[in-house]
Structure formats: structure tokens, C-alpha cells
């Protein structure tokens, strides 16, 4: 449903980290065999689940907060154009500059040009999902600009030449021995006798990063929230690297998805309660930084806000799918997902993994580019219960499955399902099919269980038995009672 102008856009191919290289079942199969990964992720998600449950359970009004969060985000999406314009006016009036990026390529070009204009060849970065989504670091490298991640986990991932596997704790697939090995190999100036003791690993990273903070002219960040009413941008973080990057450099560039708006400053009261409790399982995170444009004599002299579309207006246009834009990237859904817990983030092939990733990634790229992701779920519903803004992920997955089917056209599966539906449309045909299935009683006589069936049912019998069809169906028994 795009116009001849190419709007609304989808996230383009060949750039960024939204297009999976392998279908989910294939990538998942590999990940399941990685026992280190499963142990790390299982332990981490279990720990964060418990922490989250405790801080959520102590609030008597958690459900009201969720409903408020949902309502505020629904309002934002309903008025997105006017709020974005208001944001631009407020940021500009406060001395900042707003840039509009249709897609990843435009955003990368804008940021590269801004950095080049300063003459800097190095930038420091605060962890930002949006910049990973668009592949900013790679694009800057092509312009001879090195982007140094300063979030400890992102630093580990970057030095390890790796990809993040979790929205909040990107290096969760690594253990301390691996991190030590990565630092020894790739961190300039690291002490050669570095042990794998976590406080000393962190100290090594601090020393390394301190040099970067004090020398960097340009910082690039994302944003958790931007307030349309005041033009204020907010970053919520745990380590303090954000505070360093937001205050020390001369030029600050923020890349932000257009959905990250809130209408008024007062709305932060709801979200600053929802986000820390849902993400790290804390009552409040250690550092929350808010800035409005530029301030004479304090902090960056130049502030640029790059508003990123990259498929978001396409999501907005889908009535059944638009609430995926409410996501505040807390990762609570990842931590409760039984599928994510066993395969980790890499299996989803996108910077957004887990339940929200299974929805948002295909929505941003178009379902045709990621048709297996909506099926990476048992629809257990744990994500919906954990989501601080009540995104109905299971319903959206079912909706996207229908889109994936439509995108695929005629397939063997469609024919098989059509045959099943035809059979079940008629009680006579259904009863006949039941009678036919009794032939299956020829199998499985040894243990009264069927243990081997041909493809595609072999997927089941590879690991599980099936019951033998009964001698009489329920309706046959009823008829004869």
C-alpha cells in the first residue's frame, strides 16, 4: 500500500540489522545446541524476572500505571504528526536543530555529514537501539569515522566483533572468561595480567573509556523519550556513560525513532515508573538525563535531533499492528518469553529480538522480508502480561501470520490447510476422515503409540509419540449409546 512517492517507507534492505539471514527455525536450531548460551540466558532472564516481579509486586497501582502508559502512547500515535511538529518547534526554539530521516540510509547520511562538519574522526556513543537498527557504526566507518561504544555490554560486543543478543543486556551470551579474552585481544592499553574477576574487568573498561570521554568532541545517542511540549529529550541509563557522553562533548547528535514521543513533561511520571521496574527490575535507574536544546556554558554547544522513520509510518498505517509502536524498549517481554530464553537474540536475526522483535521487525521491513518471525512463538501470552504498556503481542503475531500467508501466495501448506478446512466444514466429511484415520491403528501396535511418521509429521515424531487413533470416535460412541 505504498504511494508512487514510496511512502510509507519500509526499512530498506542492505543496511542495518533488521533483515534476518536465516529463517528463525534454522537459526533457533543452531542456538539450541549452544549450551553456554542457554545457561547464560536462562540464568540472566530468571534473575531479572525475579527482580521485576518484586518491584512490580510492591506497587499497588501497577495495573493503573500500565493502563495510563497504554493510553498515553495511544494518544501519541493518534496525534503523531502534530506532536512531531511541536517537538521540532520546541527543540529549535531551545537552540537545537531537527533533521527528518525517511529511512536508515538518509539517517546515516545525515549523521555522517554532521560529524564530518566537525572535523572529528572519532565519536563516542551511548547505547542506542535505533542506531543499531540503521547500522550507523558501519556507515560511519565507511566515512572514516570510528564510533566507540561506551555502554559496557555494547563495548564488549563491539570489541568482540559480535552482535547484541538482548535489548537491555546485549552481551548476555558472553561469560567472564570470554569477556577477559576479548579485552586482552582488542582493548588498547589493557593490562596483560587482567583477571576475569568482574570488578576488575569493569575497572579496565572504565579506564579505557575515561580516555575516550575526555577526548571526544562528538557524541551520538539515542533517546528513551522526547517531550513534545517542551522539546526535552530524556536518556535513562545505569552506568553513567550516558551522562559522560551527554555533557562533555561539544556536539551531541541524537537519533530517535519517531514513536518515542510523549505529549507533556507530566507524562514522564508514568513512564519513569514503568521503565526501570520493567527493564532492570529496579525502582529507579541510577542516571536519568534530560536536556532541552543547548544551554550557554553548560554541556554541548550544538545539539542535533535526527528523527527516524525507517518503516514506522508504515506500522502506524496498520490499524491492527500500530500498537507495536508503543514499545518503550524495556525488554520485559524478552525476559519472560520461553522461546527467547532458549534461543537468545541472535536467532531472530534482528537488533529487536524476542516477542516485540517478532512483531516489530517484520512490520518495519515488511512481512515478506521476515516471514518466519511471526511464527517464533507458542502464543503463550506471557509477554502481554509483562508488557508495561499492554501491547497485545499474541494477537499481533496472529495478525502478522495472516499477512505472511497472504505474502506467500500459493504454497503446499495453503493447500493442505484448505483441504483440512474443507474436510471440517462438513460433519459428514469430518466423520469420514475420522474413519479413515483409523487406518493409523495399523501403526503403533507395540506400545499403543505411533513413534514414526513421514514428513511433515516427522517433526513431531522425532521427539514425541502420538496416540493411536481410537477404535471409535466420540460421535460414534454417542450415536450408539
Amino acid at each position: 500500500m505504498t504511494t508512487f512517492l514510496g511512502m510509507p517507507t519500509v526499512a530498506p534492505q542492505g543496511v542495518g540489522s533488521l533483515h534476518a539471514e536465516q529463517p528463525f527455525p534454522v537459526a533457533a536450531r543452531t542456538a539450541l545446541g549452544n549450551t553456554q548460551l542457554r545457561h547464560n540466558i536462562g540464568f540472566a532472564t530468571q534473575t531479572i524476572r525475579a527482580k521485576r516481579a518484586a518491584v512490580v509486586g510492591e506497587l499497588p497501582d501497577w495495573e493503573q500505571l500500565r493502563l495510563a502508559g497504554e493510553a498515553i502512547k495511544t494518544d501519541v500515535m493518534a496525534r503523531l504528526p502534530e506532536l512531531l511538529v511541536q517537538l521540532e518547534e520546541r527543540v529549535t526554539a531551545a537552540g537545537g536543530t531537527v533533521h527528518w530521516a525517511r529511512d536508515a540510509n538518509e539517517a546515516n547520511a545525515i549523521v555522517a555529514a554532521l560529524v564530518e562538519a566537525t572535523g572529528a574522526h572519532e565519536v563516542v556513543k551511548i547505547k542506542s537501539m535505533a542506531t543499531q537498527e540503521i547500522g550507523l557504526n558501519e556507515a560511519l566507518a565507511e566515512h572514516g569515522i570510528t564510533a566507540h561504544e561506551t555502554d559496557l555490554a555494547e563495548l564488549i560486543v563491539q570489541l568482540g566483533g559480535d552482535r547484541p543478543s538482548h535489548i537491555l543486556v546485549p552481551a548476555i551470551h558472553r561469560n567472564r572468561a570470554e569477556i577477559r579474552e576479548i579485552f586482552l585481544r582488542a582493548m588498547p592499553g589493557v593490562r596483560p595480567d587482567l583477571p576475569d574477576d568482574p570488578p576488575q574487568l569493569a575497572e579496565a573498561a572504565r579506564s579505557y573509556l575515561r580516555q575516550k570521554f575526555l577526548s571526544a568532541k562528538v557524541a551520538i545517542s539515542g533517546a528513551n523519550f522526547a517531550i513534545a511540549e517542551t522539546g526535552t529529550v530524556a536518556v535513562v541509563e545505569s552506568e553513567g556513560n550516558g551522562r559522560m557522553c551527554l555533557t562533555l562533548p561539544e556536539v551531541l547528535i541524537t537519533v530517535m525513532g519517531i514513536e518515542k514521543l510523549l505529549p507533556t513533561f507530566k507524562d514522564l511520571e508514568v513512564f519513569l515508573q514503568l521503565l526501570p521496574r520493567s527493564s532492570t527490575g529496579e525502582r529507579m535507574n541510577p542516571y536519568t538525563s534530560m536536556w532541552t536544546g543547548v544551554t550557554e556554558g553548560d554541556g554541548p554547544r550544538e545539539f542535533h535531533l535526527v528523527l527516524l522513520d525507517n518503516g514506522r509510518t508504515s506500522v502506524l498505517a496498520d490499524e491492527a499492528g500500530r500498537s507495536a509502536l508503543h514499545c518503550i524498549r524495556c525488554s520485559a517481554c524478552l525476559n519472560v518469553c520461553p522461546v527467547y530464553e532458549r534461543v537468545g537474540g541472535h536467532a531472530y536475526g534482528s537488533v529487536y529480538p524476542g516477542p516485540i522483535g517478532a512483531v516489530l521487525t517484520p512490520q518495519l521491513t515488511g512481512v515478506k522480508e521476515n516471514p518466519s518471525l511471526p511464527y517464533a512463538s507458542t502464543l503463550c501470552g506471557a509477554c502481554f502480561d509483562a508488557c508495561p504498556v499492554r501491547i497485545d503481542i499474541p494477537s499481533m503475531l496472529v495478525h502478522l501470520r495472516a499477512e505472511a500467508v497472504r505474502a506467500k501466495g500459493m504454497t503446499v501448506e495453503r493447500t493442505v490447510f484448505a483441504a483440512a478446512a474443507w474436510t471440517m466444514r462438513s460433519p459428514v466429511r469430518f466423520a469420514m476422515a475420522e474413519r479413515l484415520s483409523r487406518l493409523g491403528r495399523l501403526l503403533g501396535r507395540r506400545r499403543d503409540r505411533i513413534s514414526r511418521l513421514p514428513w511433515p509429521l516427522s517433526g513431531w515424531t522425532a521427539a514425541r509419540d502420538l496416540p493411536r487413533p481410537p477404535r471409535r470416535s466420540l460421535r460414534d460412541w454417542w450415536r450408539n449409546r
Binding site: A28, S377, L379, G381, F430, S437, W460, P470
Partner: protein, 244 residues
């Protein structure tokens, strides 16, 4: 009360004993049970795999079959969930507002077994006797879609002779997920593996649940690995009058 039994296609075709138990139980409680012969399938499998258009005639058949009855009861939280939450939305999205309204009306008198016993009939002691060590898996649809809470446990606790043990990590999904079990069979098996570990850790001889689909998956693992434990549907336990 006259109760229409929404058997579900899976019970009708593969687990008729569950249906027979529903009939025996409800009749023992003094009610008349009818098995409308025009029923086939609620269409959940088609809806959840991305074929809502193919499910529409199944929804129509379901509504036609059951709307003459005052009360409809099924031994499946997932099928009741589909009838209550999906039928109306799919019909409306595909442009059949009349069917959507009829589905909505029928949903209000469609119940999963434990809901029906506890909320409508007001009973938790159904006169059952089942002298075995049993652990219960709550199933995701009953937990999170229908929110039956502890109704099944309250019913089981009243069963004479039962040795009921709590299942660790009970609210973790078993990994069935409908066609997920085939499309993502490796992950499904990994999830089953953990569910089996939890079931076996209780020392229970029997694992029970209110959904034959999840039980088929769990039982498939229990027998494949010759574990010595088996699955029995909630309806079968509640209908049972096994001597101690």
C-alpha cells in the same frame, strides 16, 4: 441444566475418553448432556497459522451448531478462548458483522470445564475419587486467556484419595503452541524437555491439564522416554470413581 458438549475436534477424533468423561461427570451431577452432531472444529488452528479466511466457514458452523443451546461447555481452554476472543474478531475483520454479533452472544454462554463447574454450577467437590499421585500443568490459554486461576486446583483438591503435588515452574509454556510444534519442532522439544523435567521431579504418576492438546505433547514425551508417568485429562480425573 441442559448442557451442549463442545467436544473439540481433537477430543472427538483422538481422545474420545475425555468426551465420555465429560458426559459421565455432568450426568452424575444431575444435568442433561447433548452432543450436537453438526459440530466439527472451532477453527483455531487455521486462525493461528494465518488462514482466517479458511476458518470463517468453521466459525459459521460452530455458531450455527451451538447457538440454540443455553449453555456450551468444552474440555479445552484454548478452544473456548478461540470461541470467546477470536470468532467475533475474525468474522468482523472479514466483513460478516452479523456472524460477529452472533459469535459475541454465544461467547457469553460458552465455558471451559473448570469455569463451568465452579462458577456456573457452584461446585468444587464433584464426588470424584482418584487415588493416584497427580501434578497439574495449568496451560497458557487457561492461565492467561481465560484466567481460570486456581479453579482446576480447587476441583482437584476435593477429589478423594488424590495425592496432589505442585508442579515447579507451572506457568511455563509446555512448548506445544499448535503448529509451532511442527514449524519450530526443535524449540518445541526444548521447551517440552524442561516441562518433563519439572513433571518428573514431582514423582507424580499422572500429569493432568484442562487441554488435550498440551497433554498430547507432554504425554508424547513421557511415553517416548519411557518415563513411567502418563497424562490424564482433568475431565477424566473428575469423572473418575476409582476405588481407593
Amino acid at each position: 441444566m441442559r448442557v451442549a458438549l463442545f467436544a473439540t475436534c481433537l477430543v472427538d477424533a483422538l481422545f474420545p475418553d475425555v468426551g465420555r468423561s465429560m458426559v459421565a461427570l455432568l450426568e452424575r451431577l444431575g444435568h442433561e448432556v447433548v452432543l450436537p452432531r453438526e459440530q466439527t472444529c472451532c477453527g483455531q488452528m487455521h486462525i493461528n497459522t494465518g488462514y482466517p479466511d479458511q476458518a470463517l466457514p468453521l466459525i459459521r458452523r460452530h455458531v450455527q451448531t451451538f447457538e440454540p443451546y443455553d449453555v456450551v461447555v468444552a474440555p479445552s481452554a484454548s478452544c473456548v478462548g478461540s470461541a470467546r476472543h477470536q470468532h467475533e474478531n475474525v468474522a468482523r475483520a472479514l466483513g460478516d458483522a452479523g456472524l460477529a454479533d452472533r459469535a459475541h452472544a454465544l461467547a457469553a454462554r460458552t465455558y471451559e470445564l473448570s469455569e463451568f463447574l465452579v462458577d456456573v454450577l457452584g461446585v468444587t467437590d464433584v464426588g470424584a475419587s482418584y487415588p493416584h499421585r497427580v501434578t497439574m500443568h495449568p496451560t497458557c490459554h487457561s492461565l492467561r486467556m481465560l484466567r481460570v486461576g486456581d479453579r482446576p486446583l480447587r476441583l482437584l483438591r476435593a477429589v478423594r484419595g488424590i495425592d496432589l503435588v505442585e508442579l515447579p515452574r507451572a506457568d511455563s509454556c509446555c512448548g506445544f503452541g499448535g503448529t509451532f510444534a511442527l514449524k519450530n519442532s526443535d524449540v518445541s522439544t526444548a521447551m517440552l524437555s524442561d516441562k518433563l523435567r519439572d513433571v518428573l521431579s514431582t514423582g507424580a504418576e499422572v500429569v493432568t491439564a484442562g487441554d488435550a492438546s498440551c497433554l498430547m505433547h507432554i504425554d508424547g514425551g513421557l511415553t517416548r522416554l519411557r518415563t513411567g508417568a502418563r497424562s490424564v485429562h482433568l475431565a477424566e480425573i473428575l469423572a473418575s470413581t476409582d476405588a481407593p
